[in-house]
């Protein structure tokens, strides 16, 4: 129904008027987010592009094989379009990007878009599970620390968190692999997403965990879960530290707040008061968790390397080391997009936790 919008807003779509208020509000919020995101993404992609061209090595050299004579190298440069002036290359890149053509991997000749999309689920599952473990450990210890401030539990929690913060992730990964795989045989070998001899489940969502269950092959899902546990535990233990500190500080603040005082004065039982205090302190923790997961999507490189996980992190590292320009750009692009999705989810969860929050 094409009703003309009232004269105050000539730019609004006609249907806009008919949508319920909450849809309009969310459309506005997401629209603004998207605009801001696209600008930042463009900036990030351009910076990457410049960095790799200016600072990076010459991929033609690496592709030339055993006899990198100047003629051979130059021939490859022409083929890849690297001999054109920088500005022309940049305009070409933007043009292709706008048309959705992300380019071909210099080394495998496959579409880089496909390559990153293939590897994203592995990283997403790992990071999500790791983040969940970090949340679990950090929240529980943080709340305990806050409730029993100054007691041994608090000090132990602080010691553990500083230790976890100081240990580099690749070392912790190796340590856990040694203890829990080699010594105690609790978990399988760190050789990737699935153990040797297990075929991946049929591809429905391309998330191994779900695909196994959905295609009636729960054994594959279980095997995947077991393989995922150690790297996720590594991530969880390390990132439990900042969550613990944040929860503790946030919880202490909220326990000292007026609303908790009032709840106590009303005579509510202790567990209820704690629950209310916890709810108040959750917004900070949720924000941090969102930032953490978004950062881990591109930043779990080392853990992926130790456990041969084959996700985005490893892909990005290899691309950078090989000067695989289209792969690098695609990697940065997908990390940025996934980060935006995570931030948006966090904001939605925000409003669910704290109804007073109004996203402007």
């Amino acid at each position: 129904m094409a009703a003309v919008a009232p004269s105050g807003s000539t730019a609004t779509l006609s249907i806009h008027r008919l949508a319920p208020p909450w849809v309009r509000r969310w459309a506005r919020i997401i629209g603004r987010r998207l605009l801001f995101f696209l600008i930042t993404l463009w900036l990030v992609l351009t910076l990457t592009w410049l960095l790799t061209r200016v600072v990076g090595g010459n991929p033609a050299f690496k592709l030339a094989g055993p006899t990198p004579t100047p003629e051979v190298v130059h021939g490859i440069e022409v083929k890849l379009g690297l001999d054109k002036p920088l500005f022309t290359q940049y305009v070409d890149y933007l043009g292709n990007l706008a048309r959705g053509r992300l380019g071909t991997d210099y080394f495998t000749s496959q579409s880089v878009g496909q390559e990153v999309v293939d590897r994203a689920p592995a990283t997403l599952q790992l990071v999500a599970f790791g983040g969940l473990l970090a949340l679990l450990f950090g929240l529980v210890l943080g709340v305990l620390s806050a409730l029993r401030r100054g007691k041994p539990v608090d000090h132990a929690g602080r010691v553990v968190s500083v230790l976890a913060l100081a240990t580099p992730d690749f070392f912790l990964g190796l340590l856990l692999a040694y203890l829990l795989f080699y010594k105690l045989h609790v978990f399988p070998a760190p050789i990737g997403q699935l153990p040797v001899g297990t075929a991946p489940p049929t591809k429905i969502t391309s998330f191994y965990l779900l695909d196994g269950i959905l295609s009636g092959n729960p054994g594959a899902s279980w095997a995947f879960l077991k393989q995922m546990f150690l790297p996720a535990l590594t991530l969880g233990l390390i990132y439990m530290a900042p969550i613990l500190r944040l929860t503790r500080a946030s919880m202490l603040d909220s326990l000292a707040s007026d609303s908790v005082l009032y709840a106590q004065a009303c005579g509510l039982r202790r567990s209820l008061v704690v629950r209310y205090a916890l709810r108040q302190s959750m917004t900070l923790v949720v924000t941090f968790l969102g930032i953490l997961i978004a950062a881990l999507i591109g930043g779990d490189v080392l853990v992926e390397q130790v456990y041969s996980w084959g996700g985005l992190g490893q892909f990005g590292v290899e691309a950078v080391v090989n000067d695989n320009y289209p792969a690098i750009q695609a990697f940065v692009l997908i990390v940025g997009v996934l980060a935006l999705v995570v931030y948006t989810i966090v904001d939605i969860v925000y409003t669910l936790i704290d109804p007073r929050v109004r996203l402007s």
């Binding site: 930042t40 960095l51 190796l174 000067d323």
Partner: protein, 299 residues
């Protein structure tokens, strides 16, 4: 004056504790607890600096030449030998030289550049005050390790590029800290008074504004050094850092990765523990400095 059994500690902050002064023992404990991090951190860092300086005297063998049969467990060789027969102990002891030098160097450069830029952007008004921050935002959107990786892999695997990479990834952090301090300081009364007194710009900047920006910078600097050490080790772990046979903990950990799966733990665990203790030392130092200066840290 505690108002009930729950949660007594949250309510026992000074404003509630009217009248009762804490006992002598409690004061000692709280003073030590505040300084505990500083002392422990300083000891750890100090110990490693001493080890780095006196590595020549402490090490049992030359870290750059094979010393014995490969893959021997700790015994006659204090920490055992690795896959090529190098003595693990000597390499562990020599490695901090490289790490400390690169991490401290890179961070120092980042502090200097970051402070200069931060003051400039902070004192600017209008477009120049916001636009550069968007660029830094975009820069900080990268996973830092990948950024450092790109720089080192591209420019070359030598000390210079590693220092440059560390400086590069840390500059935005310091710019942000200094800029926010400058922004809040420039509206303060004492700055206004200094301007009214007729002080030239440079004097106001150097005498009034700059010294007050230094506390958060110092706290962040120790953290940055800790992070830089981890980054250097990570780069070596990915074989993109300094080339062997230069002893470096990350590279040693990587060399021992295969061994872990068959139970040869000494090649990775010792350098890893060394790395963890040095990083721990800097982190504790940072916390201690923060406690002492009572400063808010910008993450």
């Amino acid at each position: 004056m505690s108002t009930g059994e729950f949660p007594a500690d949250a309510l026992s902050s000074p404003e509630w504790d009217v009248g009762a002064a804490p006992s002598g023992r409690r004061r000692l404990v709280s003073a030590l607890a505040g300084r505990g991090a500083l002392v422990t951190g300083a000891c750890l860092v100090g110990a490693w600096i001493v080890i780095a300086i006196f590595a020549g005297q402490i090490a049992t063998h030359d870290p750059r030449t094979p010393a014995g049969p490969p893959l021997s467990a700790p015994g006659s060789f204090v920490f055992g030998t690795d896959t090529l027969g190098f003595d693990v102990f000597s390499r562990v002891v020599y490695a901090p030289r490289v790490d400390l030098y690169l991490a401290a160097g890179g961070t120092l450069i980042a502090v200097v550049i970051g402070t200069v830029l931060g003051v400039a952007i902070g004192m600017a008004r209008g477009f120049l005050a916001d636009a550069p921050m968007r660029v830094f935002d975009a820069l900080q959107a990268f996973p830092l390790l990948v950024l450092a990786l790109a720089l080192v892999a591209g420019v070359g695997q030598n000390s210079g590029s590693i220092i440059a990479a560390i400086a590069f990834i840390n500059v935005p952090i310091f710019v942000r800290i200094v800029r926010s301090q400058v922004l809040s300081l420039r509206e303060r009364r004492f700055v206004e008074a200094a301007v009214a007194d007729g002080n030239p710009r440079w004097r106001i900047l150097s005498r009034h504004i700059l010294p007050n920006t230094m506390s958060p910078v110092l706290a962040q600097a120790t953290n940055s050094i800790a992070f830089a050490i981890v980054v250097i080790a990570a780069l070596s772990f990915l074989s993109v850092g300094l080339k062997p046979p230069t002893p470096e903990w990350g590279e040693m950990i990587q060399g021992g990765t295969q061994g872990i799966q068959s139970g040869q733990w000494w090649m990775s665990i010792f350098p890893g523990a060394a790395l963890a203790t040095l990083v721990l030392g800097f982190i504790l130092l940072g916390e201690g400095v923060q406690n002492v200066l009572k400063v808010e840290r910008t993450a």
